[in-house]
Amino acid sequence: MTDLISPDFTFSQSNLQTFDYCRRRFYLRYVKKLIWPAQLVSDQQYIQDREAGVRFHRLVHQHFLGFEASLLRKIADGDPDIRVATWFETFLASPMATLQGKLEPEALFTTKIAGHPLSAKVDLLQIDGENISIYDWKTSRHLPKLSTLQKQTQSKVYPLVISRALNLGQPGYETARLRMIYWEANFPGQTIEIPSYQNDWKKYQLEIAASIELILSLRREEFVATPDEKKCAWCEYRSYCQREKIAVDSKDIEMTDLLEGLTKIPAEAFDSWG
């Protein structure tokens, strides 16, 4: 155990995924907190996609807050990116728009694993009697494969955190089931569902605890650069690591959510009003 990671460091799917991607990148982003402003990709498309995705997520959030669909449609129609209105229309026409039960949009949950907080911010949590589902809205250009999603840290962290927050691991809940549902606005008919049960959560817990303990045990020099230099093409630190010079095009991207967890200048640094 080294003291590089402070006891209050909150683990999340995004920083654990970064560790899987490259240990050095985890170190530079979350331990050294190095702001290195090199571009992730060479074109603006990726940023535009992401920003449009953020606005779509907000509309869906507003839908679950109880706003009239007609009002939200007008907002979607006013969006500078026409895809947002299309995605939102697709969403309204899907069964997702009429989910029943207790619905918690954009909710943050935290649990403790290996002595550290582990948090999950879910797009929507649905508790409908025995049925508990975690929804994740996506606006990907290509439909991800089930096997890819199953391997993603998110598909393990979210069920683990929610099962613990709802005490589903306790005796008496042996048959409890959680569904992780990925709904793609560009492929609405092809919802991907990953169910999990007590045994899975136990497995996830062991796996994630092991990752966290490994991170906690590493010395500075053990946060090594990834041997797979291809990955450096989508990393903001590539010039810092002297790996690559020029960003590649976003269409070659293998990994989504590259910008998540990026070390940024805090917004309040730009304003003096409180």
Binding site: S6, T10, R58, F67, K74, H116
Partner: protein, 697 residues
């Protein structure tokens, strides 16, 4: 038990922790009387119920540090059970999320389009668009002010109207009716009103949401809306509101209406504070919350200051009736050993005293703050340099810093100009040479001049980088680097958004081998600051400009050059090393709420210890809720204001001091001017009294 909690809470603290028996509590008392510590114990109790959530509300982020530290010690992630916010951040987030409600009120010309939020800087940019033509028409002609200060004071008025809660259409009238002076000056207030009206109109036409509109929309539209109310009451069960006296009245109004729906509320009010009055803080309005709470407790103990310091504070609060002893003075106040004539001698003396303190047993553990009304760059530089020579680490808190003072940012701006010759912005030879030396490893100023070629005395400017002039005095690798940089700049696409251009310039050239940003982490941060500043600017622009990124980038660079976009408010997120001497402006220090063992008060002759900034176009008191509309602001009012301000400052500082204050001044200040302000007089009176009592008179 965590390290930050009081080990043996007193009775008031114990009662405060009990959120069941004291569900709606107003706790008041001076700083350092254990109020925030008690609120942490209360929070700890609330946290025992993991189903319930708490909002910690503070007027300014720096005041939230004890809460962050507490959560860190408990290993609790912020945002789940506990959310720490300022009202401004809450307002901003809520407007964005509940925009459909605002849209349905049709206040804006394009209600269903996204709002574009303005920062203080981008507000200034738009205010300039309105005020500059007015100036061309001869308006504001009685006022001599740098343009950016003129814009910011008009914006300040608009913000005050929202924070205090009066119509923005009354600003000119309120200022004018309080003004005593030449009639010609009165016209300027109608110019202010005119600019304010136009600005508001422009914002509504273009979906621009400045700070004043954020507050108005939140108070007048969102707060009373049922969907919003349902959301906000579901979000938080408990409220802990610290330093309520530092918030403006609109926040107190909101809390007053919120109180009945919360399971528990603790409001903490610091007596004799209200340091942010220039930002609309209103302690009188804060006190109105006391009546609305079911219980009220008062703390009186001081957990920080030594007894002599407390005695000194009591004495200075009522100097007329106090008989200080020489013993008290010796224990609590340190002076220079000799009379100091010039400012550099003062800095030497400060350094010497700190060296003495550090050499005492346990001295290196003592916390020290050097405080002065303003911190100039030269003061910052000289003091940190002389302290570093004696091995003392320094951390500096500045309320804001100028983007263009940063050499990395300055270099990036100049190189951006060279990459965009169509902007036709001229760069002086000297600036170009400095930028090149900042960018290219191994290049000095002489060689940079050689590369730039002949200097034309009649036109000492460049709009593009010339081809490098070969010279035997310049090594070939330097010429290669220069040519590489120049070619890269010339090949860039002018339509590329500036933040993307900067990021590539950084990643593809300046952070590569042979250039000075290679492996230099500070240069990464500075580049990111400039990129983010542009991004904020760019999103406030209308769609046509956003679509023409070349024009957007040009407008941004011009706005920086003219000082409109200048400030970066680093102090709130810059991490201060623990064991260092803090150098801070007095007001910023008071708002950190962090006691120290020794305080050095520099320039005690300065009027900056109590006087307001010269603001001919606005007035924090006249526009406050406590000013009787129509009453004139006289010289007596100014005097009384200054005295109250000085009292509050002295008292606030001593409440945050454990052992001793060093009161230092030199005959001539930094600018070579003699100063004899009221704080100096206070000390002189104190010594005279002590001397008299020593001599038995």
């Amino acid at each position: 038990m965590t390290g930050i909690l009081p080990q043996t809470p007193d009775e008031t603290q114990r009662n405060t922790t009990d959120y069941v028996d004291f569900p709606s509590l107003f706790l008041s008392g001076p700083a350092s009387s254990g109020k925030t510590s008690a609120s942490l114990l209360r929070l700890q109790n609330i946290l025992e119920n993991p189903q319930e959530s708490t909002l910690i509300l503070v007027p300014q982020r720096s005041l939230a540090e004890p809460f962050h530290q507490f959560l860190r010690e408990l290993g609790i992630a912020e945002g789940d059970q506990v959310s720490i916010q300022t009202m401004s951040s809450l307002v901003r987030r809520m407007i964005s999320l509940f925009w459909p409600i605002i849209a349905s009120h049709q206040v804006f010309e394009h209600p269903y389009e996204e709002p574009r939020f303005l920062t203080l800087e981008t507000s200034q940019y738009y205010m300039a668009k309105i005020v500059d033509p007015m100036i061309d028409q001869g308006r504001f002609n009685n006022i001599t002010l740098p343009l950016n200060r003129l814009y910011s004071q008009i914006i300040d008025n608009l913000n005050k109207s929202a924070l205090v809660g009066f119509p923005h259409t009354e600003i000119g009238q309120r200022l004018s009716s309080a003004f005593i002076g030449e009639a010609a000056r009165q016209n300027v207030f109608s110019d202010v009103q005119n600019a304010v009206d136009q600005f508001r109109g422009y914002c509504l036409q273009n979906n621009l949401v400045d700070y004043s509109l954020q507050v108005e929309l939140f108070c007048n539209i969102l707060w009373s809306n049922q969907t919003f109310q349902k959301y906000i009451t579901n979000q938080y069960d408990h409220l802990i509101y610290d330093n309520s006296e530092e918030d403006p009245p609109y926040v107190h109004n909101i809390i007053a209406q919120w109180l009945p729906s919360l399971k528990s509320t603790l409001i903490i009010h610091d007596d004799q504070a209200g340091y942010r009055s220039f930002l609309g803080a209103d302690p009188i309005s804060s006190l109105t919350l006391e009546k609305l709470c079911q219980q009220s407790l008062v703390t009186t103990r001081n957990y920080v200051s030594s007894e002599p310091i407390q005695e000194l504070r009591d004495c200075l609060r009522d100097l007329k009736n106090c008989q200080p002893t020489q013993g008290l003075i010796d224990k609590t106040i340190g002076f220079p050993e000799k009379r100091l004539c010039f400012f550099p001698e003062l800095l030497e003396e400060v350094t010497h005293e700190i060296e003495v303190i550090r050499a005492l047993p346990g001295g290196d553990q003592k916390k020290i703050a050097i405080l002065t009304p303003y911190i100039s760059d030269s003061l910052r530089f000289s003091l940190s340099h002389s302290l570093e020579t004696i091995g003392v680490q320094v951390s500096i808190q500045k309320p804001s810093s100028s983007l263009t003072q940063d050499p990395v940012i300055k270099t990036l701006i100049i190189l951006s100009k060279f990459a965009h010759p169509t902007w036709e912005i001229r760069v002086s030879y000297l600036d170009a040479a400095v930028a090149l030396t900042n960018a290219i490893e191994g290049l000095d100023l002489n060689r940079a001049h050689l590369l730039l070629g002949d200097f034309d005395q009649h036109n000492p400017y460049l709009t593009a980088l010339p081809e490098g002039v070969p010279s035997e005095r310049i090594p070939s690798d330097l010429i290669e680097r220069y040519t590489g940089l120049r070619d890269w700049l010339l090949s860039s696409d002018p339509a590329e958004p500036l933040h993307s251009f900067l990021s590539r310039l950084f990643g593809e050239v300046l952070s590569q081998a042979g250039f000075r940003f290679e492996g230099n982490t500070q240069s990464g941060t500075s580049t990111a600051v400039l990129m983010e500043s542009f991004r904020k600017f760019s999103i406030s622009l209308d769609r046509s400009l956003q679509e023409n990124q070349n024009l957007a980038s040009q407008a941004f660079i011009k706005a920086i050059d003219s000082g409109l976009i200048s400030a970066l408010y680093l102090s709130e997120w810059e991490v201060q090393p623990n064991n260092s001497v803090l150098i801070a402006p007095v007001m910023s220090y008071l708002m950190r709420n962090e006691p120290v063992d020794y305080q050095f008060w520099l320039n005690i002759g300065s009027q900056g210890w109590y006087e307001r900034l010269e603001q001919p176009l606005t007035h924090p008191i006249v526009l406050s809720r406590n000013w009787q509309t129509g009453k004139q602001w006289t010289a007596d009012d100014e005097l009384a204001y200054n005295q109250a301000n000085l009292q509050r400052t002295i008292s606030g500082l001593l409440l945050r001091c454990r052992e001793k204050v060093f009161a230092f001044t030199s005959d001539y200040n930094e600018a070579g001017v003699e100063e004899r302000g009221q704080l100096l007089t206070v000390f002189q009176n104190l010594f005279r009294k002590a001397l008299r009592s020593k001599n038995g008179r």
